[in-house]
């Protein structure tokens, strides 16, 4: 696989040292059929025993969760858009999207974790081991999507595990299992990518030119996501970064520059000594 483990396409489980790893598993969240029922949020919390996130009316359409956090591992965003129909009549686009941890090919959180609490599973997903995490919080700024979060009362970092405990038994993650419209699809990532391409083509053929994929491209700044999306507008509209980049992408360049700078400094010192003698 990839010669460069820090950037670009690769199969993360073998790269992490798994031998005979099963196929990489992932989520394809098709927002064009999301009905905003939030069953994913509830099913996730039920299965993973995630605490409630407080009772706050946010006034952001029907979203009272606000975003992904230590206590919300699925989050349904609601976006109301005033638009006009083809005949010029006022109409609404009500976009709904169930957001989740992207399980990046190059996961910033995992790369910076000093304790090994975050690890790459055999399915290519990224999981925090709650009994190892010491709450240092390095992972939080490392995530280019702002997903992973510390729980206030215990300080540890929490996020979606893609229901690692269910996957091991061949079960579907709780959110995908509960989704009534198959907006959340779980499966082998390669197959999901093929399915997603077909879905975009079908929507385009139906005249919905808004449809586009997000996080599906192994050439993007995180080497492609294990959980990717079909969106009906720009990523920013849903609160997603348009061009996420894992911090480690620039690590070799930084080391190179640091190395060059160091050499230059050393050279300068040498030169200064030489000059002194001159």
């Amino acid at each position: 696989m990839g010669a460069d483990s820090l950037f670009g396409p690769l199969d993360p489980a073998p790269d992490a040292g798994w031998t005979a790893a099963p196929p990489r598993m992932g989520f394809f969240t098709d927002t064009s059929v999301c009905i905003g029922c939030k069953a994913c949020e509830v099913a996730c919390k039920e299965w993973n025993a995630v605490p409630d996130d407080g009772f706050n009316l946010l006034g952001t359409s029907y979203d009272n969760t606000g975003g992904l956090s230590a206590n919300s591992w699925r989050h349904v965003a609601f976006i109301e858009q005033d638009v006009l129909t083809q005949t010029g009549r006022p109409d609404i686009n009500w976009l709904m999207m169930s957001n989740v941890c992207k399980h990046c090919t190059h996961a910033g959180c995992l790369d910076v974790c000093p304790t090994g609490a975050l690890f790459r599973t055999e399915f290519g997903t990224v999981v925090v081991q709650e009994d190892v995490c010491n709450g240092c919080g390095y992972c939080i700024p490392a995530c280019p999507y702002g997903v992973i979060d510390q729980r206030e009362d215990d300080g540890r970092a929490w996020k979606c595990t893609m229901c690692y405990d269910r996957m091991g038994d061949g079960m579907t993650p709780a959110c995908a299992q509960a989704c009534p419209t198959q907006s959340i699809q779980y499966g082998e990532l390669d197959e999901l990518r093929t399915r997603a391409d077909a879905r975009v083509a079908a929507l385009h053929a139906d005249g919905d030119s808004r449809a586009r994929l997000y996080g599906h491209d192994p050439q993007d700044g995180v080497g492609g996501d294990g959980a990717f999306f079909l969106l009906l507008d720009e990523p920013e509209v849903y609160g997603l970064p348009p061009d996420p980049v894992v911090a480690t992408r620039d690590l070799p360049a930084m080391w190179r520059r640091a190395g060059v700078a160091g050499l230059a400094m050393a050279a300068a010192v040498v030169v200064s000594f030489l000059g002194g003698r001159a």
Binding site: G36, C37, F55
Partner: protein, 832 residues
């Protein structure tokens, strides 16, 4: 549908992915609209004007499925010369008596049968409900004109009645632009006919109007005109409010019905067993109700076993009797008046969930005792100590006379039994775990309650106690299958389970708890527990669950074949006549006598099943036809007509008659109605959020659901917000003649003012899930409503009313009562 039935909505999404066009007609833009191709905003309470426009479109453009209409509906039947339409009488049908606000229906009858019309149907006992599974009585041999040209044939009456429901009128009355309306008409008609069918799916908010039954009738007229009944992919489907509401009408929790739609006897109309049975079977009538005596006797045998004999009329004398309106709203008013002493509430939270919350709570505060069985301590169990009336001073806890008993109940996962869904399909549920602590199932509770009552009554010689003492009451604890077997019925001579209702006898040799469910335990197998996956069988999937009657998945499916018994088309092939074998066959169980050929014509004087012609698919109807026009059986008219809701902001644009003239009203000081007045200038409607369950008893107690919708809110359009100075996320209060409630404001373009009769009408929307108990609390939207009912089925008009909305919180304490009273006074003074 996506809001209240997200799981069922997966099939709409699937249909959309396969090319179906989704149109959503709703006052506001909801999660359903978000997935639809077109959202059609409509004024709440104007549905008959909209659907009447569709009928007019079909008839004026001759888009009806003519062969089907002529053969299978009553389009060709000639109606009495005496009949006068709303078009002649400015919104009334012939026969109206203003002094009783009811109709003499004789003139609505078919020609020559006027004398047989039943006089007059009773608004007191929701009589038309018993026609749910069969038509009301009509004679056989009605004169017909198969050319549909006779001026008094149903087809022509229908044309004249709906002629004024033009697209322009739809626009004026409903606020729906002409082109959008025509888009709906085109989609519906283009998807109906020989090769295609359309399903009409509604949710039960549709029934909650003073003309609710007529709403659904209008839908049924369209479906019949387009040939969408009795055929695959067609039908009129009610998405019920929660699990097994269909089951609770089949084996009813209703005051006026016994299992299988047998009527509860009335103390005057049904003094004897014979009178009662003949009132059901109508001796000269054709159709399957002719066997009603067998169903009735078998039910009484199930109740009283060996004690039910021919000599004592199978215990008919032990059945309770109706004496009038015992509907839920009449009961509540009777409680306020001190006429009711005790009340059982099972899984119901009327303090939040029923119309006119104050009346509900004041009624329950005036009992001797109240038993509440629920999962949680709900508002209907705590109103006496911390309800809104305690704050206002109307209930003083130390003086409240009602003794409240709270009994913890098992949830659906903690007990076994069946759910019956909209397709009349019974599905067996296993018990997943034992209920915690003292929680018990309904089965356990009633069985033990019965045992204790019988022990207390033991030895009594009082006549009124005999019905209870003679009951067969020897059930094992918590065994749902024993009950389902009793419902299925037994051959008492052999002790064998019956294969179906055809085996029921009127001689006391069979017992059956609900004749339409007979066959659910055929061959000793719990048929409702069948769960063969759809992918392992054909598309009708008959080995999943069990549907009444006799496992038919589509009712009246004889109509899926043409009059000669051939499928209308290869594409919509379903049930057909096999001339070689001499029987009906197909993918479903034929809803017809198996060997009666399409060419069969009944001999003169035939009655009952023998009188059903080989081309009469609607075998439970007295004339074997689907009714475009209802010559009897409905209290408020033979044809749906647009009336304004009991509370409206406009005069009826179509007729001088403002609202349904036969609607059930309770004129009393504690049930005031908003007049048309600028004091109550806005229309409001209520419904559910996906995140909560009805009155909140099962969702406001759960953190994972409560956090998703944590507060009572009200949705208003940006225009109305501007007009009233309402701020997004600020407080507002909503006022009607009954109450003022407060809510947080959600300003959203998903609500849009409509232009009605040249006047801008603002609509307001609220969820109705909140009360003062649970993790998240708030005012109850149902407190805003008064009590006005559909006369046919006594269901309340709770989906439309008028109100005012003002910024800021409502007054509290006794000041709140004065605030609401001041609105009432101003409305009276100002008039319009």
């Amino acid at each position: 549908m996506a809001e209240a039935h997200p799981v069922g909505f997966q099939y709409v999404v699937e249909a959309k992915n396969r090319g179906a066009k989704i149109i959503h007609v709703d006052p506001r833009f909801t999660r359903t609209s978000a997935l639809a191709h077109t959202h059609v905003p409509v004024r709440a309470g104007a549905d008959i004007a909209f659907l009447g426009g569709v009928v007019n479109h079909i008839l004026s453009n001759e888009k009806d499925f003519r062969e089907y209409v002529v053969a299978y509906t009553n389009a060709s039947m000639i109606v009495s010369e005496e009949f006068r339409d709303t078009e002649d009488l400015d919104g009334l049908f012939s026969g109206f008596d203003p002094s009783t606000a009811s109709y003499d229906q004789a003139s609505w009858m078919y020609a020559g049968a006027e004398d047989e019309a039943k006089q007059p149907a009773s608004t007191e006992t929701a009589e038309p409900m018993r026609h749910e599974s069969h038509g009301p009585p009509v004679p056989a041999g009605v004169p017909r004109d198969l050319t549909l040209r006779h001026p008094r044939c149903v087809y022509q009456i229908l044309r004249r009645h709906y002629a004024r429901y033009t697209p322009e009128v739809v626009e004026r009355v409903c606020g729906v632009p002409r082109d959008q309306f025509l888009e709906v008409c085109e989609a519906w008609t283009a998807n109906s006919g020989r090769e295609r069918t359309t399903a009409l799916v509604y949710s039960v908010g549709w029934t909650q109007h003073s003309v609710g039954v007529q709403y659904i009738r209008t839908g049924a007229i369209i479906q019949l005109l387009l040939g969408n009944m009795g055929r695959p992919g067609g039908g009129v489907m009610a998405l019920r409010g929660h699990a097994s509401i269909q089951g609770s009408t089949d084996i009813p929790t209703l005051f006026n019905l016994l299992p299988g739609y047998l009527p509860m006897p009335h103390h005057r109309q049904h003094e004897t067993f014979r009178q009662w049975v003949d009132a059901i079977r109508h001796p000269e009538q054709k159709g399957f109700w002719a066997n009603a005596e067998a169903y009735a006797v078998s039910l009484l045998k199930a109740y009283w076993g060996d004690a039910a004999t021919a000599d004592n009329d199978w215990g008919f004398g032990w059945l309770p009797r109706l004496t009038g309106d015992h509907g839920t709203y009449q009961q509540v008013l009777d409680m306020i008046d001190g006429k009711v002493k005790g009340y059982f509430l099972l899984g119901q939270n009327p303090a939040v969930g029923s119309a006119h919350g104050k009346a509900q709570r004041l009624g329950m505060a005036n009992l001797d005792w109240l038993v509440v069985r629920d999962l949680f301590m709900i508002e209907s169990a705590t109103f006496w100590k911390d309800g809104p009336e305690v704050e206002s001073g109307e209930i003083v806890p130390s003086q409240c006379r009602t003794e409240v008993f709270f009994l913890p109940a098992a949830s659906h996962a903690e007990k076994e039994g069946t759910f019956t869904q909209t397709q009349r399909m019974l599905q067996w549920r296993e018990k997943a775990l034992d209920p915690p602590g003292d929680c018990r199932s309904e089965l356990w509770f009633f069985q033990h309650l019965g045992r204790r009552i019988r022990a207390k009554l033991a030895g009594s010689r009082l006549a009124r106690d005999q019905g209870i003492l003679q009951l067969t009451w020897d059930y094992p604890d918590d065994d749902g299958e024993v009950i389902l077997k009793e419902i299925n019925g037994y051959d008492l001579s052999t002790g064998q389970l019956l294969p179906g209702f055809a085996g029921l006898r009127a001689d006391g040799s069979t017992s059956c708890g609900c004749w339409i469910y007979s066959g659910v335990f055929k061959d000793g197998v719990n048929q409702a527990a069948r769960r063969k996956p759809g992918r392992e069988q054909d598309w009708v999937a008959r080995e999943w669950g069990w549907a009444w009657p006799m496992d038919r998945r589509t009712l009246y499916n004889r109509a899926s074949a043409d009059p000669d018994g051939r499928p209308w088309s290869e594409r919509k092939k379903y049930v057909w006549w096999d001339p070689g074998a001499g029987e009906w066959t197909g993918y479903d169980v034929p809803d017809f006598e198996k060997t009666k050929p399409p060419s069969y014509r009944p001999p003169d004087g035939a009655s009952g099943v023998a009188a059903i012609s080989g081309d009469d698919p609607f075998i439970m109807q007295g004339d074997g036809k689907g009714w475009l026009y209802a010559p009897s059986g409905l209290i408020d008219g033979p044809l749906p007509t647009h009336y304004e809701p009991a509370e409206s902001t406009v005069r009826n644009p179509l007729y001088g008659q403002q609202a349904n003239p036969a609607r059930k009203v309770y004129e009393r000081p504690d049930n005031p109605v908003n007049p048309i007045s600028r004091v109550y200038p806005f229309v409001f409607t209520t419904s559910r959020l996906t995140e909560h369950h009805t009155a909140g008893g099962m969702s406001r107690q759960l953190a994972y659901l409560s956090e998703l919708q944590p507060e009572m809110f009200v949705e208003v359009s940006p225009q109305l917000a501007g007009e009233r100075g309402l701020e997004h996320l600020g407080w507002a209060h909503i006022v009607t003649a009954r109450a003022a409630i407060e809510a947080r404001v959600m300003v959203t373009s998903r609500l849009r003012p409509l232009r009605i009769e040249g006047q801008l009408v603002h609509q307001i929307w609220m969820p109705y899930h909140w009360g003062n108990q649970g993790l998240v609390t708030g005012d109850s939207a149902n407190d805003l409503l008064g009590i006005t009912l559909d006369p046919n089925v006594l269901i309340q008009e709770s989906k439309v009313g008028t109100c005012d909305i003002q910024p800021g919180r409502r007054p509290t304490g006794p000041a709140l009562l004065e605030y609401v009273a001041a609105y009432r006074r101003r409305a009276e003074e100002h008039g319009r």
